[in-house]
């Protein structure tokens, strides 16, 4: 073993024991029916997953986490008769929650804001601009609104988490006997298509274009929050956009119940309103990862567990917290750890921000850094612990 490999191994062992300490103090969050679910984890010192684990009580979960110190810890979106059975068929699938994943680097406006760094093993790590995380948070907030207002899911059954890396998970918890939990992939695929706005027709957004204006005086009606479907969605988003820009007059266009009044308001500031509608439409198409949602047997990061790619916690968020979400040191479970000296294994490009900090760091530098950032870099395998 080379010296560097030995340092990396020691670092991973250190991270594992820090994680174990964390799990001694903190409980992860699990749905009540977790005994019907499969658990899986990846250890710090191996690249393979251990699957088909069944845990039967909260104290078992705690003991498991403290002892195994997982780098990544998952539970299944599916419920099974026998979650611990080693092959999928003998598990006996019962039903599944509906899960959504919004990744900052998959947002259409963020695809070119991804920076790739090579680790010492040649592994490629992609870091996305932190402004994209805020956009992903906004999209997650809109998704929750769509799931409630349009799809009709119960508000209390929806949970949102920051994934601990660059995205957000939205889960609709369904009871085992809910027929929607037992429908197959087709239903979920159409749900994704609906949310993404796949095949959205121009005339759905601007229905007046189907009318011929021959000998008729046709006036366009703006979308309003009272409308169903994507027109209502656009109006709700547009209203928020107008309000956040401090333009309350424009915002009223989207909530006006009096049609003649709405049309008049629309005509008076057509350009301004249209540009907000355009922005709202862009936000209304939510780029969820189709593969995640249609998979009936997905493994999901356990809320409250540590994401071993970053050393951050998978954090449950309310819609309000989602609106103000930014990456910062507060998200780290190691924020009270003091400073840690590390040794860099790679250059950090100067356009990268880590937990809100712009850092200039080069290979072989040995800085003392606040623990959240040090743990982040070590988890990323961009740095090792320096004694």
């Amino acid at each position: 073993m080379t010296r560097i490999q030995e340092l990396i191994r020691k670092t991973l062992v250190f991270l594992a024991s820090s994680v174990s300490e964390y799990y001694k103090k903190v409980d992860v969050w699990l749905p009540n029916d977790f005994t019907l679910r499969e658990f899986a984890y990846q250890p710090w010192t191996s690249s393979s997953y251990v699957r088909h684990i069944s845990l039967s009580s909260y104290s078992d979960v705690k003991e498991f986490l403290v002892k195994r110190k997982p780098r990544h810890f998952y539970y299944s979106s599916a419920r099974y008769d026998q979650p611990g059975m080693p092959d999928m068929d003998s598990k006996g699938w019962r039903s599944s929650d509906i899960t959504f994943d919004i990744d900052a680097d998959h947002l259409s406006s963020c695809r070119d804001k991804v920076i790739t760094i090579k680790t010492i093993h040649g592994k490629e790590i992609s870091l996305v601009d932190e402004s994209c995380i805020r956009l992903a948070a906004l999209k997650a907030k809109i998704l929750v609104d769509v799931l409630i207002e349009e799809i009709g899911f119960d508000k209390r059954s929806i949970m949102v988490e920051f994934s601990g890396n660059r995205g957000f998970h939205v889960t609709v918890y369904l009871s085992d006997d809910d027929e929607r939990a037992r429908l197959g992939q087709e239903y979920r695929r159409e749900l994704v298509n609906y949310i993404k706005g796949v095949d959205l027709q121009e005339e759905t957004v601007r229905p007046w274009i189907t009318l011929s204006s021959q000998r008729k005086f046709v006036q366009a009606v703006p979308p309003t929050v009272h409308m169903a479907g994507i027109r209502g969605r656009i109006a709700r988003i547009a209203q928020q956009l107008a309000l956040s820009e401090g333009n309350s007059e424009i915002a009223t266009v989207f909530s006006e119940r009096n049609l003649a009044q709405a049309v008049l308001l629309y005509q008076n500031s057509r350009e301004e309103v249209d540009s907000i509608i355009e922005k709202a439409l862009e936000l209304a198409r939510i780029e969820v990862d189709e593969q995640v949602t249609i998979d009936l047997k997905r493994l999901i990061r356990v809320p409250g567990s540590i994401n071993g790619k970053t050393g951050l916690v998978v954090l449950r968020l309310t819609p309000e917290e989602l609106a103000d979400f930014t990456l910062n040191e507060e998200l780290s479970p190691f924020k009270n750890f003091g400073a840690v000296r590390i040794r860099m294994l790679a250059d950090l490009p100067n356009n990268v921000t880590i937990l809100g900090h712009r850092l200039k760091l080069h290979k072989d530098e040995r800085p003392r850094l606040p623990a959240p950032i040090a743990f982040y870099l070590m988890s990323r395998e961009l740095a090792v612990l320096e004694k």
């Binding site: 068929d89 749900l191 229905p207 009606v221 169903a228 994507i230 009936l296």
Partner: protein, 379 residues
């Protein structure tokens, strides 16, 4: 499914128009006091009627208008269905179901909204509700007056996508282009009627599965033997690939034409049938190909029957796995021609072909065309 529906239905739904909603066994025993098989023996006129109804659906894809008397209608529908099922040819059943569903849709267009909603529910669309002005959406102001789109029906979002699944290829059916609010999709009358056709199709196919369990199969089969044969003949004439304009070819569901298999697949098939030991990749290629062109699980399993290590249970499990019915639910696609080449299984140069399935349909097209040309020359 055997609960009586006859009594409660008479007032609203006309059994003459929608015979499938009437419980066959109960209808027969109540009206005639006999079993189905006896009725079939003595009412040869109805059996003839039923046979021509079924053949009409095979040849024209349509169903005749309702009979004048309700009992004639109900009997001819169910006996036709019985013959279709006994023919043991899935294509005949689905062709019949489609023709009848189509007729149902046509008849619905002159029914009041309440009846439309009731038929939907009977056909299994459980959450559909008729509610006048359930939702209206303003399209524009025309000469200062608001113009609305009216929606008088609503259905649960998740039931909508399941029932409408075959229509969703058309974007206007995608929920994103419809008003969706708090878990409901709003629909207008025309869409509901079109949707009911989908539901009726499924419903009649379900009735087909049920009917066998409700009669004495062996005896009925004996009594209907001649008629089944007649229907099978009509089907075999129609069961050929046909051109559907612009060089598109329509291959009837369930039809597999081995002559059109690409060389790589025919070779594997011959090897499998003669009991040669095939590699994993070879088995994978042949099974995914057959599944890809619409073969049934049984047909695919049969191909492997002569293999030295054949084990019914394992083979079935694996084929079902490839078809996406097991394990992760992922449906496996056939290897591409490129992949077949790298695995050394490609046996011909198929110009511009992406996959063996594409070659298959291309072959069917040229061979159907050749046959058509020969036919017209012979004239």
């Amino acid at each position: 499914m055997t609960i009586s529906r006859t009594s409660s239905l008479h007032s609203v739904i006309d059994g003459r128009k929608y015979p499938y909603f009437i419980d066959f066994n109960e209808f027969v025993s109540r009206r005639y006091g006999v079993k189905v098989v006896d009725l079939v023996k003595y009412r040869r006129d109805i059996v003839e009627e039923a046979t021509s109804r079924l053949i009409y659906s095979i040849e024209k894809g349509r169903a005749p208008p309702p009979a004048e008397k309700m009992e004639d209608e109900v009997l001819s529908f169910y006996i036709a269905l019985l013959i279709a099922v006994l023919s043991n040819n899935k294509w005949i059943v689905s062709r019949f179901a489609l023709a009848e569903a189509e007729r149902g849709m046509d008849l619905l267009s002159s029914e009041p909204d309440e009846v439309v909603a009731e038929v939907a529910r009977l056909a299994g669309v459980r959450s559909l509700i008729y509610r006048p002005s359930a939702y209206r959406e303003v399209v524009a102001l025309i000469n200062g007056v608001p113009s609305f789109r009216m929606y008088n029906f609503l259905i649960n979002f998740h039931e909508y996508v399941v029932v409408a699944r075959r229509l969703l290829g058309d974007s206007s059916w995608k929920p994103v282009n419809l008003p969706v609010l708090r878990g409901k999709v709003f629909l207008d009358r025309n869409r509901v009627i079109r949707l009911i056709k989908e539901a009726l199709n499924v419903y009649i196919e379900e009735r087909a599965k049920w009917i066998l369990s409700s009669v004495d199969v062996d005896e009925v089969e004996r009594v209907l033997e001649e008629h089944i044969k007649k229907v099978e003949e009509a089907a075999s004439k129609r069961l050929r690939p046909r051109f559907k304009g612009r060089g598109k070819i329509e291959v009837p569901k369930g039809l597999i034409i081995e002559e059109a298999f690409p060389p790589c697949i025919s070779h594997l098939l011959t090897a499998a049938r003669s009991g040669e030991h095939l590699s994993h990749h070879e088995r994978f290629a042949i099974a995914t190909f057959l599944l890809g062109i619409g073969a049934e699980i049984d047909q695919v399993v049969d191909v492997f029957r002569s293999m030295p290590d054949f084990n019914e249970k394992i083979a079935r499990y694996q084929v079902e796995h490839l078809a996406g019915l097991r394990g992760s639910g992922k449906k496996y696609r056939v290897y591409s021609c490129e992949k077949m080449r790298t695995l050394g299984m490609c046996r011909a140069d198929c110009p511009n072909a992406r996959s063996p399935i594409q070659v298959y349909y291309r072959n069917i097209r040229s061979y159907t065309k050749k046959r058509r040309d020969e036919k017209s020359e012979a004239k």
